[in-house]
Amino acid sequence: MIRRARAGDREALAHLWRSYQHLLLRYFRGKGMNEPEDLASTVWIEVASGLVRFEGDESDFRRWLFTIAARRRIDDIRATKRRADRIERAPIDERPAHARSAGDEAERAAGLDAAIAMVQSLPPDQAEAVLLRVVADLGVTEVAEIMHRSEGAVRVLVHRGLKRLADRLAVTNPDAETMSAL
């Protein structure tokens, strides 16, 4: 698939995009980025530009993709800080109306939004580690490379982040709509 995508096969590129686009969006949203779609678009453009030089399999591509995503996120944060006009995170309640529509997809969307909101409440390092470890499905070593941390530090961050999420889920209303969606 990657070889075909490198050759410019549209279907292969679409397949890659469909496989990882939603993970990218969740990663950016979990990190509280304001324009996850825009960031994801820049990531895909950079992927397409460097695809001719890429060598590896699917797991390598996944690691490479989220390495680029992490860099773009940092670049976006720096740019936002320079502008000093960073927009505050959109609260869960301001999610699009279609996400609250009836049906399974609406419930899934609501549960996803709730989960992302929970992750956003974590400290940045823990949220980063959890997102890369859970959403991107990367190994501890790969997450450590992306975060420029040791593997032990990544393990600690992931453990503390998940434990804090569990505590908050237990403390908050367990019968809430969000938890039922989960």
């Binding site: 995009w17 686009q21 939603h22 678009s41 549960g111 989960l182």
Partner: protein
């Protein structure tokens, strides 16, 4: 599994759930942008460029090298071969003689001025031309009485040499006069070329005349009229030191006049028609004397 674990698992499941329809919006535009970005990048940016660059560099270097060798080849390769001839001895002599004979066939007159020194043919013709220093490639000074009959008034070559030896101080004049054709009969000019060119197995063996180790086996060695004008006929190391080796008027039996390895006293060493007008040339014991020495000896004698 505790309730917290269950909640956490549910949260993780929500995070890793399949893509929602809202997350697939803009697929076509994104793929189109990716194709555009992909097409803007060369397919093999480094590999093809490097190989193409290497190929271009190799072709450039090869053409420059070959062109340079062709341009500088005759001058850079021939003269070292000429310098190498004393060490190699007779082995290098046929090369030079071959080129000399080739030049004689290309330019029988041997007097054509080279227009293109870089070409091998003109270089060979230039080497075969009398008055060209083989080592330096420079024209010898034509004004020192070398071979032109304007100043020649003597009827015999020996007289001319003797006159110069007596009238002037020892120096290049005596040598040049001895080398010149002054006083030689015109008939001697004819057989000058033919023996060396037609002798079996001695095609253009003019360098073999005084080549080290050769014993004067060729009649062409002492062909009449071979006055040593051509540097190619002079053995390496004997170009200027012993002009009397091939000077007309030499008598047989002068071991000092023979080239290294040449057997003195052979009949072939004596040119037909050569006389003994120059006692200095026949004086025994004049081993390795230069033309200047010859001149001084000649002056010192009555």
């Amino acid at each position: 599994m505790t309730g917290e674990d269950h909640d956490t698992d549910a949260l993780i499941a929500a995070l890793t759930s399949p893509a929602l329809p809202s997350e697939r919006v803009g697929e076509d535009a994104a793929v189109t942008a990716m194709i555009g970005a992909l097409s803007s990048v060369p397919a093999r940016p480094t590999g093809h460029r490097s190989r193409r660059g290497i190929a271009i560099a190799a072709v450039t270097v090869a053409s420059l090298g070959v062109g340079g060798l062709v341009a500088a080849g005759p001058g850079s390769f021939f003269f070292p071969a000429a310098d190498r001839s004393p060490a190699t001895g007779p082995e290098s002599a046929p090369e030079r003689s071959f080129e000399s004979s080739t030049s004689s066939s290309d330019d029988p007159s041997g007097e054509s001025a080279p227009v293109e020194p870089a070409t091998s043919s003109t270089l060979v013709a230039r080497i075969a031309e009398p008055g060209i220093d083989l080592v330096t490639g420079q024209d010898e000074d034509p004004g020192d009485g070398h071979g032109d009959g304007d100043e020649c008034e003597a009827e015999r070559h020996g007289d001319a040499v003797s006159d110069v030896a007596r009238s002037t101080t020892p120096g290049p004049d005596v040598r040049d006069t001895a080398r010149s054709d002054c006083g030689k009969p015109d008939t001697a000019e004819g057989p000058e070329q033919s023996p060396s060119q037609t002798a079996p197995g001695q095609t253009g063996q003019t360098p073999a005349v005084t080549a080290p180790g050769q014993t004067g086996e060729s009649p062409s060695d002492t062909a009449p009229g071979q006055t040593g004008q051509s540097p190619a006929t002079t053995a390496p190391g004997q170009a200027d030191e012993s002009p009397s080796d091939t000077a007309p008027g030499q008598t047989a039996g002068t071991a000092s006049d023979s080239a290294p390895g040449q057997t003195a006293g052979t009949a072939s060493d004596t040119a037909p028609g050569k006389t003994d007008e120059s006692p200095s040339d026949t004086a025994p014991g004049q081993t390795g004397q230069t033309g200047t020495d010859v001149g001084s000896d000649a002056i010192g004698r009555p």
